[in-house]
Amino acid sequence: MPFFELNDVHTYYGQIHALKGISVKVEEGEVVTLIGANGAGKTTTLKTISGLLRPRQGTIIFDTHRLDQLPAHKIVAMGVSHVPEGRQIFPRLTVLENLEMGAYLLNNAAEIQQNLDHVFQLFPRLKERVYQPGGTLSGGEQQMLAIGRGLMLRPRILLLDEPSMGLAPVLVEAIFNIIRELNQQGITILLVEQNAHMALQVAHRGYVLQTGRIILQDSAKALQANEMVRKAYLGEE
């Protein structure tokens, strides 16, 4: 049985059929990426997994648990952490309070402190700004905060939605290094990216989405070599 599996998932926004049967498998310890153009359904897929949207059909299984009928706050408790698109930090909570919210489900102060130290070790920048309201951070710092917040629970699988969006190239590089590092620490990652070039460099496998369907799936290496992918998503001629 796979570690994490979406099986024929259909999600709707009202009458709009956004996901038309998505099936994705992620094995423990893998980095898997979903790539595709705007509106392909990448973000919708993540939102459906984390419970922000409810699938109308299909199953989502994580480590023998069914996720598809659970509310969002119970899915996090299973160890599924979603770092949403556009960072979505709490602008009027301090950096520290934002991180504390990430550890909302933990009650052991020592454990929270340990996770906090871990996040500060990954993002020393955040430590310098602990008492600053999240809304006053720069875009890159907010992204670090969003990822750090997602790590405060020591998740078993991390859903990352467009972590490089709107960041300067040097920061994009830094974020992808962090993703690699996290994966080496044993965290399974499902990564949604428009920057297919970077995503396919860190990922083991990838899925290509188009208008709510998966049109291609393969190892990252093979996708990088695939002519259609190169033309449509890597911007090569």
Binding site: L52, P71, H73, S81, F90, E97, E100, M101, Y104, G166
Partner: protein
Amino acid sequence: MQTETVAPTRAVSRGIFSSQMLRTLFAPLGQLAIWTVGTAVVLSLVVLLLALIFRTSSSGVDRFTLVLSILPQVIVDSMVLGFVYAMIALGYTMVYGVLEFINFAHSEIFMIGAVVGAEVLISLSEAKALENFNPLLLILLIIAAGMAVSGLVAVVVERVAYRPLRNAPRLVPLISAIGVSFFLQDLVRMLESIWRNAFYRTYPDVPSFSQRISFGDTLDVSYKSIIVVVAAIVMLLALNYLVGATKIGKSIRAVAQNRATASLMGIDVDRAIALTFLVGGALGGAAGVLYGLRFSTINPYTGFIPGIKAFTAAVLGGIGNITGAMLGGIVLGFLETFGASYLSIFTEGAFGAEYKDILAFGILIIVLIFRPKGLLGEVVGERA
């Protein structure tokens, strides 16, 4: 919802936990003191200046002496009213913070607190138990009773009348709130009529509350006023601590700032919203008890005017902003009391205390024209 307190975490500051905690707890005390004193000084200067300019009235009375002689009393009365408004305003502003809608039934939550306080006191009085009670204990008892019932009613109202409409268009829950407001008024009226055969209730006279302390010739303060102000300050500090430094408070703020993301943190959003209603309702209930103590006679329709004024106070301070609600309440209480006390002196009786609301609301409209987001408004914006 905004609070600007930088709250320490237990995790990071365990060593300095106690001093940090004390600071979080008492920092707002300084803020409350500054606003109260500031508003008092500004308004006092304005009336004294006016009295100097128009010193002698047509009947030869020296206005300056008159204004000065009642000033201490006016300030005390302003504080009593202002703190009551502040407590009610918090309920409006907290609910607005999490749901972005005005809970018009909050004035009835306040009224229910006043009615519960009255009934507890009346029952004790009928049982001839009032004299045997320690006055401090008695105060705590009636406030706790008012808070408990109002808090619970607020939670039930949210569950029954607002939660099913959470994804409906904005106006729908608003209409529901107005409906709940009428429903609660008449429900209380019906229950009181069945039980007591009357729905105008008067707080029985508790001898130890009715004592007065005199400071010189000009200031004569009743114990009731002191009780109201002290109780209100304790409540405001407790709320500030709850929202600023506890896990529950932070989860409420997180839900207010970004509901979907809060749920991704594992926060049960429905529970956080229910807690907001519980806390806001309990504060409203406490305010109702204090209002009843101070103004004695209440009825099921008592809540409307103070409710509307507290809502105004919340808007004046910056709706959704907790500190703003406190400031708005204090300012409105002062404006209203100063208007009630001094209008007739300056207009030689042409405009009496009954025009106080025109004065207070006139000034409010002017403030809001220049600061549409309220006195405190948005302090920290979102970036990126």
